[in-house]
Symmetry: C2
């Protein structure tokens, strides 16, 4: 978990190319969408075969530093949560991370995103957040719809927090959340429990609309208390 990456591994052509290309982006101050030199050019400049360049570009594309496409030069890309999501999923698959730990991370971060959202959300964002909460209540007998609104609800808050780091991290948890969500849902045996959860979503949304960070965080924490209890009941944690 703690190893520093070895810059410019001398005998690793691909690693060296990755470093060189990342450096190129930094030093030339390239922006998302800007084009990198063609593979053939990089190959000549860095004195390695196109094979090496391609593998280096694929590495960078996997991390979403660059974007590749047939016929077009490699372009600088914007971060998104896919890559980090894959990593988290892998951590769960190999039991390096468990569900409880992800939940604790979510709780920690979402306590903050809800407060920031209350402070920073636009009117439109507040409306969208509340709309998801209401849609959840309206469709509460259709789990396949509820889950989508639930996830969208939390992610809207993350975005409204105006901190892309939070949005990135919480977005990466999405896939794992999606897999455990039905378990929590089923463990809420009766509609009363489910409606209680809707009430909490409503409360969070209202606090964000009202611009009350303390209330938003409090409601969010309460929400996680209840959700966590559901997962414990289900024996998942």
């Amino acid at each position: 978990m703690l190893s520093r990456r070895s810059d410019t591994p001398s005998s690793d052509f691909v690693g060296a190319a990755v470093t060189a290309i990342a450096q190129l982006i930094r030093e030339q101050d390239l922006r998302p969408g800007d084009r990198l030199p063609a593979e053939a050019v990089l190959s000549k400049d860095l004195q390695v075969s196109r094979t090496v360049i391609r593998e280096a570009l694929r590495s960078l594309a996997a991390l979403r530093l660059v974007e590749l496409g047939a016929g077009r030069r490699p372009t600088v890309a914007e971060l998104n949560d896919d890559a980090f999501g894959l990593m988290i999923e892998h951590g769960v698959v190999i039991d390096q991370i468990d569900i409880q730990q992800i939940y604790d991370a979510r709780r920690t971060i979402e306590a903050r995103t809800s407060a920031l959202a209350a402070l920073r959300r636009t009117e439109a964002e507040a409306k969208a957040i509340i709309a998801h909460a209401e849609a959840m209540a309206a469709d509460f007998h259709l789990p396949e719809k509820v889950i989508e609104h639930d996830i969208a609800f939390h992610l809207s808050i993350a975005r409204a927090s105006r901190n892309p780091v939070f949005a990135l991290i919480l977005g990466a948890f999405q896939n794992v959340t999606r897999q455990t969500w039905p378990i929590g849902w089923r463990s809420r045996a009766n509609d009363g429990d489910r409606q209680a959860m809707n009430a909490l979503h409503h409360e969070i949304g209202q606090a964000i609309l009202a611009g009350d960070p303390g209330a938003a965080t409090a409601a969010m924490n309460q929400h996680f208390d209840v959700s966590l209890k559901a997962l414990v009941t289900a024996g998942l944690i």
Copy 2:
């Protein structure tokens, strides 16, 4: 930030191979260190050229789902923070993330890791954490030593929290922290300010040793208040 990855992109051979290999790891329940099929075998199984398989493996290696080495079959790898660190660094380079946002994420998470560390640390971990705080005080006229102890101090706490998600995220911030750290250091004009920071580190360490999560979090928050102020003074935020 929100796009879901499209599973099995039909016309993207490499993407399909990545998905297939990741699925292989999951379905065969492979553990870190376990070997994947040789490239030639994957090539035959998935009906694509070795070129495609290699690029797929490089993608997975970039995310640290697998590890590659000359002469040896690809092996399943453990997560580490290098890959995520590269992503974060890129986010900063392209101005998708700013330093203040990383600091807010750190503060949010470290408030929690310090509390968890107080609850879960072993005796040895508590000693190591305190040792870093003391080394910082002892070497406080040697910035190049102080920074290393500072970073190690925070990371030890993250590890002692027993949540690898936190350790992963905070580890990924390391490189960025390392780049901004000297700025904060210089803005602490006199030794008094610097010693004050040492006192806070000491306080955090003692709270963790004492097993007092509330005090640990409080001291950590105070620490971030001061650090943030230093960065503001320096005009970085």
